[in-house]
């Protein structure tokens, strides 16, 4: 590679900024180095990407990006590759640059063989143009942080814009069960569809948090034969010929389902035995499997990597605090919160919840979406659960729970995260498991509290 002084300066400055940011206690320096490096060389990402011998993989979609990125990276590493990834979930362009800079050689050469990046839906097009990825995974398009992107429709189009800019020969792994994803893949070459054909955990109707009840092509109502979660399942338009495409890789059966584990049987005979539970993770698992095998990793290697994979910060993470087992289940939007509560109620049989809702930019400033969540299900639960309502919008949550039908004694309002954790611990018996469901920044706060109590390490130190 010819020396590129500008790139070298950008990488060095980015690395220094990361060290300084960490030294100042400003977190893990997950985006500031990106700002610095981009200011010096706007082409830094394209150049660092081009230096990777095996190119890059991008993972986008509303829910499951972090877990799927981790799974794909684990599979590629198991096949002997050195993989660069944005493990701390900083998925805007600055975050990608920061991750690339951190792992580049001082003058800009590559230490890794390939990058696997999770990318925010609205940043996908730019990431595609700069990195020219060999494969893109599109997981789902659900309602998320609407105040940021305006409308889901806009987000969907932006994903489509990214896919249409892919270089020739690139592959797309896409969720066949999500009509909004499929609509964006129309006319895109190299699409490998994945889906869930198993009837083990179906819903009895399209939940309220679903966004695609009408055909993305013609606007007529969609008919669903099966609903797996939100608006994902088997569907066809009642007017035009838009319908779920047949998946190339499908989950045929799900067994041994718990919060910690599930066993997926794929229709090609592969068995994925994973330490991540929940139907939404079944989508992440089958997508990661399809992505890794499309890139040439043998199915057996993928299965071994999946078996050894442990979820990342806040995703089904387990932590011990005040002698209680806490289960951290990140939820960022109505579909995510719906499925997390359903999973906890069906599989966990817990009585004690802490739900923490923040409204910072990373969470979405508007929390109206709480009214799209099926808290009525929680109110009806035979476990008669108790909820500690916490976070900056604890009062919105408490009111929502009241209107959902929860009795006053089933809800305690405690906005402060440390105090909320103490209330949760005081309600759960020693050794009992309790479920903590935070939005993104609430998760960071709760982890920080738990960390001060010695429960977990700082998230930017975790890797794989």
């Amino acid at each position: 590679m010819r020396p590129d002084p500008r790139l070298g300066a950008a990488v060095l400055a980015g690395k220094l900024a990361a060290t300084a940011s960490r030294g100042l206690g400003r977190g893990g320096g997950t985006t500031i180095p990106g700002d610095v490096a981009l200011a010096i060389d706007p082409g830094v990402l394209a150049k660092l990407g081009a230096a990777l011998p095996r190119g890059s993989v991008l993972v986008s979609g509303t829910n499951g990006k972090t877990t799927t990125t981790g799974l794909v990276a684990a599979a590629l590493e198991a096949s002997g590759e050195r993989v660069l990834t944005n493990a701390s979930g900083a998925n805007l362009v600055f975050g990608l640059v920061a991750a690339a800079v951190a792992q580049a050689r001082p003058l800009g050469g590559a230490r890794a063989d390939r990058a696997v990046f999770e990318v925010d839906e609205l940043s996908l097009e730019r990431a595609v143009l700069e990195l020219r990825p060999r494969l893109v995974v599109v997981l789902n398009l659900l309602r998320d942080q609407l105040d940021r992107s305006g409308e889901l429709e806009t987000t969907a189009r932006r994903i489509g814009d990214g896919l249409r800019r892919l270089p020739r020969g690139a592959h797309v792994v896409a969720n066949a069960d999500d009509p909004l994803v499929v609509a964006q893949c129309e006319g895109v070459e190299g699409v490998v569809y994945v889906g869930i054909d198993a009837d083990d955990q179906l819903l009895d109707g399209v939940p309220h948090a679903a966004d695609a009840r009408t055909c993305p092509r013609c606007g007529a109502p969609l008919h669903f034969d099966r609903v797996v979660l939100a608006h994902c399942g088997s569907y066809r338009c009642t007017r035009c010929d838009f319908a779920r495409p047949r998946p190339a890789v499908a989950v045929r059966r799900i067994t041994a389902a718990s919060l910690d584990r599930q066993r997926l049987e794929l229709d090609d005979g592969t068995v994925l035995d994973a330490a991540v539970g929940g139907i939404y993770n079944a989508y992440n698992l089958v997508a990661a499997h399809a992505a890794a095998t499309t890139l040439g990793v043998p199915a057996a290697t993928v299965a071994a990597a999946v078996a050894g994979f442990r979820p990342r910060f806040g995703r089904m993470e387990r932590l011990r605090l005040h002698d209680r087992e806490l289960r951290l289940l990140l939820a960022k939007n109505p579909a995510g919160l719906d499925v997390v509560l359903r999973t906890a109620d069906e599989l966990g049989a817990t009585h004690n919840y802490l739900i923490a809702i923040n409204d910072l930019v990373a969470d979405g400033r508007d929390v109206s979406w709480l009214w799209d969540v099926d808290f009525e299900r929680l109110a009806r639960s035979s476990h008669r659960p108790h909820v500690v309502a916490s976070g900056r919008r604890a009062h919105d949550l408490a009111l929502r729970l009241k209107y959902a039908g929860m009795a006053a004694e089933q809800v305690t309002v405690e906005p402060d995260p440390a105090a909320a954790l103490r209330v949760l611990a005081s309600r759960a018996a020693p050794g009992e498991e309790a479920v903590v469901v935070p939005t993104y920044t609430a998760m960071l706060e709760l982890r920080a509290v738990a960390q001060r109590a010695g429960a977990v390490g700082a998230f930017w130190e975790q890797r794989g």
Binding site: T214, S368, W369, L399, R400
Partner: protein
């Protein structure tokens, strides 16, 4: 009332973004807490008998869904809605539903979506989207127990009321109808239109009770301490937003 209170939910499939369904939930629960049985009637595309309802609610939708809804309403429901409103049915229309009540909506490409012309108001797409906390002082003649409305707006549309119409209230924080005349929403008889999206009636229980009382008469009070706590917190947050916006304006 011998039969249940009928709450018509217009286009629950298409016009249901941003937690609008919280308004249906609020009306239903607040009636039930007073011992009034409620039947929620989903009303989709096609002919419908709106005058058989006591209350009608319509929320906002995504642009694609909204144009289909405008067309369906004009074709199948215009006359029925006029009869319903004349007969005293209360109506709450939010965002896209509110725009539909007027003469027309001109979108960003200049296309004209014909509205119902039920109220003398017109809407057009603005240059930017207004997103943020809103505080509105409701029109005094409505006699709201708590006249300060707290909410969140998220709309690109700008609405201008005709000379004979009154806004729902005066904007204290936020954009409101058009950012020019400080008006927010509209109130005309028993018809209320607003850009306060999401669970506006949950955060403003007095407005929910006013709509219900138009239909069933005076209502006994209920325990609203959760609403009071939320409103206190929201009022403080809107104040912070307002200071931040002023600071930003000054720095520009």
């Amino acid at each position: 009332m011998s039969r249940p209170l009928r709450l018509g939910h217009l286009y629950p499939r298409a016009m249901t973004i941003y937690g609008d369904v919280g308004n249906v939930c609020s009306l239903r629960r607040r009636a039930e807490w007073r011992g009034i049985e409620v039947e929620v009637v989903p009303i989709e595309a096609g002919p419908a008998d709106l005058e058989a309802c006591d209350l009608l609610f319509m929320g906002g939708g995504q642009d694609r869904d909204q144009s289909g809804v405008f067309a369906d309403f004009a074709e199948h429901k215009r006359a029925s809605l006029e009869r319903a409103v004349d007969g005293g049915v209360a109506v709450l229309a939010v965002c896209g539903g509110y725009q539909l009540l007027g003469h027309d909506y001109v979108d960003a490409e200049g296309r004209v979506l014909e509205g119902l012309g039920l109220l003398d108001l017109r809407s057009r797409a603005g240059d930017d989207r207004w997103i943020g906390n809103v505080l509105v002082e409701a029109e005094a003649s409505m006699g709201l127990a708590e006249p300060t409305l707290v909410g969140f707006e998220n709309h690109g549309g700008r609405t201008h009321l005709g000379p004979g119409l009154r806004p729902l209230g005066r904007v204290v924080v936020g954009g409101g109808n058009n950012g020019e005349d400080a008006g927010e929403g509209v109130v005309a008889g028993r018809v209320v239109g607003t850009y306060l999206h999401g669970p506006a009636l949950a955060r403003n229980a007095a407005l929910a009770d006013l709509l219900l009382s138009w239909v069933v008469g005076p209502l006994p009070p209920v325990d609203d301490h959760e609403v009071a706590a939320l409103r206190q917190e929201r009022l403080a947050a809107a104040g912070r937003d307002s200071r931040r916006r002023r600071l930003l304006a000054w720095r520009r």
